[in-house]
């Protein structure tokens, strides 16, 4: 996304991708909403969309559920993607805009003059090359090396890390028109998701806060246990396994330096409640691309020039990230009993929007004791 908007604005862009195929292997639950797509210029093609859903189903620990329509369901509900094709669509858009693209090529080191980043050393097909450039963009995800090499602090506290595992399960009997979120102690400090790919197949995954993990492979064990105990999923068989981790931290202090900027999970721009990052990352990446196009025209990639990106992405998503991080800190402390009461209350009173504020307001009206811990959000 950064490459596309930078190239569109006249910058010479090279995308360096360490994998041999764009979008594979998938490391994603693949749920997004459609509300933001136009704002970043994404026109989805049919292959990129696995399923369009009507909304979200929020499931309490006792099995009771609350349904939300797509419009009210927030950033991760509306469309279940085929990331393998979606990522290629974004790459194609970038190439069409003028970007160059190298696969099976790893960035191994930043080139620097003092504190200023002046390029990147790459390894490709047995050759090592130095690529000089005005700005290196670190879009290298959760395990980002680029930020660390540049001395940008992206380190995470254990409570701000979610460990994840997912099956693409087929031969199941899920609700194919709703993205399902299972709350409570079945996934301590996180949730289980069931995102439909079609009538008999879904991404069934789990995310758990690192501080809630006790034994090795707990994440997979919790998910396996859930699947075995759910009659709809029990007979399912996996078509794909996905593992990984995502950041669920407060916004980082700095995502730029002289000749360097970070986007996506490399810049910790993931929603701390849902663990979803596609929309935030694309929004920030568009700003980055536009700022880099201007920096190219002005021949100025100094930290001062890239400050426009820092301001731009923060104007768009920082408040939301910070608010949701604070809410996450509270949510992970809630008991199953509280979750059960919250879902029961939502069913009683309804809610007009899936925002932290709307939900808390709706609950406060009926059961103020349930939201005592969340007073600063009201």
């Amino acid at each position: 996304m950064t490459a596309k908007w930078a190239a569109k604005g006249g910058a010479r862009v090279l995308i360096v991708e360490k994998r041999q195929e764009i979008g594979s292997p998938v490391r994603c639950g693949e749920g997004i909403s459609r509300s933001w797509l136009d704002s970043v210029g994404i026109k989805l093609d049919a292959k990129s969309v696995a399923r369009e859903v009507k909304g979200a189903k929020i499931v309490a620990p006792n099995g009771s559920s609350f349904y939300l329509s797509e419009k009210m369901a927030g950033n991760e509900v509306g469309i279940v993607l085929e990331r393998v094709f979606f990522d290629k669509l974004l790459a194609r858009d970038a190439v069409k805009a003028g970007a160059d693209l190298m696969l099976k090529t790893s960035a191994v080191k930043l080139l620097k003059t003092g504190d200023k980043v002046t390029g990147v050393k790459i390894k490709s097909w047995g050759e090592t090359k130095d690529i000089k450039c005005g700005c290196v963009v670190g879009a290298d995800g959760y395990e980002s090396q680029v930020g660390r090499w540049a001395g940008i602090n992206t380190s995470l506290a254990p409570r701000d890390i979610t460990s994840c595992f997912q099956y693409r399960l087929t031969n199941i009997n899920h609700e194919a028109d709703y993205c399902e979120f299972v709350l409570g102690s079945k996934a301590p400090g996180g949730y289980i998701w069931i995102f439909p790919k079609n009538e008999d197949t879904a991404n069934v995954g789990i995310g758990m806060q690192l501080t809630k993990l006790k034994d090795p492979a707990d994440v997979k064990k919790y998910l396996d246990k859930y699947i075995q105990n759910d009659p709809r999923l029990k007979k399912g068989r996996p078509l794909e396994l996905v593992s990984g981790a995502v950041s669920i931290c407060a916004p980082i202090d700095k995502a730029i330096g002289s000749g360097i900027l970070l986007v996506g999970d490399a810049a910790r721009q993931i929603d701390p409640i849902t663990g979803g990052g596609i929309s935030n990352s694309c929004k920030a990446a568009k700003v980055a691309g536009e700022v880099l196009a201007r920096a190219t025209r002005e021949k100025d990639f100094s930290e001062r020039s890239l400050q426009r990106y820092e301001k731009g992405w923060r104007d768009l998503i920082e408040n939301h990230l910070y608010r949701n991080w604070m809410a996450k800190e509270k949510l992970v402390t809630l008991t199953d009993d509280t979750f059960n009461k919250v879902i029961a209350t939502l069913n009683e009173v309804g809610v007009d929007k899936m925002s932290t504020y709307s939900i808390l307001k709706a609950i406060e009206a009926k059961h103020p004791e349930l939201v005592r811990e969340f007073q600063e959000f009201l």
Partner: protein, 64 residues
């Protein structure tokens, strides 16, 4: 390089090469080249990598 051999065992039948351990390492001591995990001498043995691995592929050498 090379702490993998003396301090950690990485079960290659379980490792998904997902990078969860790499991103979680507080001192950037883990290197993943898509196939092999290596630990360098910056490792402080905090064992966060063991905890975060979704599939339990990393353990201390000798089952300690």
């Amino acid at each position: 390089m090379g702490k993998e051999l003396d301090e950690f065992d990485v079960d290659v039948t379980k490792c998904m090469h997902c990078g969860a351990c790499v991103g979680s390492c507080p001192v950037n001591a883990i290197y993943l080249n898509e196939v092999v995990l290596e630990f360098n001498d910056d490792c402080t043995m905090c064992k966060r990598c063991i905890k975060v691995c979704p599939v339990g592929a990393i353990k201390l050498a000798g089952g300690r």
